[in-house]
């Protein structure tokens, strides 16, 4: 069985067009998240009060969600491997597992973490730290939800061995979402 990768053979710059497009999306996203995180770091370094407010975030919840995203990234890349091998049903199975990781992540955040913090009085308008917290985590969570939706659209066709290159493309996006969280986690949950 061939281990050659899955992607359209149309190419504009030495790589499949779809993959090139996803890298462009990722580059654009770096500027979005980079500006946000850069601003947060400036305020964090110049305001001691940020550390006091960060002390109220739940490190264990953040760690669990990090583990969930890392594991879902593993499933995403295993899906890519299965797609490369031409095994659509297996790739679809891993896509569903990846999406499940996203659902668990969002469920913990929207179902427990945020309601708990809001109930304690920490809202987006409480102060600058919580404004950053909800904005950064919220934009990231929106990317998680978008990724889950895209995976649920791609998986049924992948299961029938159609458009298997999309398994790799959504995987690329998902890994980037994982990388953003890798930096959000210490900024919002550990540096107290």
């Amino acid at each position: 069985m061939s281990a050659s990768p899955i992607a359209t053979t149309r190419t504009t710059a030495g790589m499949p067009t779809g993959r090139l497009a996803v890298w462009w999306v990722i580059a654009s996203e770096i500027v979005i998240f980079g500006g946000l995180l850069g601003s947060y770091i400036m305020f964090r370094l110049s305001h001691d009060a940020f550390a006091e407010h960060a002390a109220h975030t739940n490190t264990w919840i953040g760690a669990i969600n990090t583990l969930v995203l890392l594991t879902s990234s593993l499933f995403a890349v295993l899906g890519h491997k299965a797609a490369d091998a031409g095994d659509g049903p297996k790739a679809a199975k891993f896509l569903y597992l990846t999406a499940l990781g996203g659902v668990i992540f969002a469920g913990i955040k929207f179902g427990y973490e945020w309601p708990h913090e809001i109930a304690l009085g920490y809202t987006i308008s409480s102060n600058t730290f919580w404004s950053f917290y909800y904005t950064a985590a919220g934009i990231h969570a929106a990317h998680v939800v978008a990724g889950v939706i895209i995976m649920l659209i791609i998986a049924p066709r992948a299961k029938r061995n159609f458009d298997l290159h999309r398994v790799e493309l959504i995987g690329l996006y998902w890994h980037f979402v994982d990388v953003v969280w890798i930096f959000l986690f210490p900024l919002l949950y550990i540096a107290k």
Partner: protein, 141 residues
């Protein structure tokens, strides 16, 4: 019908002629295990209550984790070189933004300008604490 024939019939691109890229699939479970161990270390670091250790275990490990994901899961090392340049360029823009904005954001005074609220908060803190406190409360406003 072989797999490749079947794939070709479905428009599966891996069977197209001239397709020369090859993604090397390594041991992903091993990479994941390393990432999990690094996560545990980053969570455990602050328990030592040594600031330098916390910074290293939190942000140093974050950089290592991100590198592992980008290299092994996103396979940037086998992508065309310009992809790396593209990503590096956006990171440079991020640093440029930081360098340009940080002096305004992080300082309370400068040449011919000052932030009255910050300066007042700083002076009040000096008055209250005998010079030990900073201007952190200004972040509330």
């Amino acid at each position: 019908m072989s797999h490749d024939d079947h794939a070709h019939a479905l428009g599966h691109p891996s069977s197209e002629p001239g397709y020369e890229e090859h993604t090397h699939h390594g041991n992903y479970v091993k990479i994941w295990a390393i990432l999990v161990v690094l996560l545990v270390v980053s969570v455990a670091g602050p328990f030592l209550e040594i600031q330098v250790v916390t910074l290293i275990t939190a942000f140093g490990i974050a950089v290592v984790k991100a590198y592992l994901v980008v290299k092994n899961f996103m396979h940037i090392n086998v992508a065309p070189r310009y992809v790396g340049y593209l990503i590096a360029t956006t990171l440079m823009f991020m640093l440029l933004f930081f360098a340009g904005a940080a002096p305004d954001v992080m300082k309370s005074t400068g040449t011919n300008w000052k932030k009255p609220a910050w300066v007042a908060a700083h002076e009040a803190a000096l008055h209250d604490d005998g010079g030990a406190a900073g201007h952190g409360d200004a972040a509330h406003h």
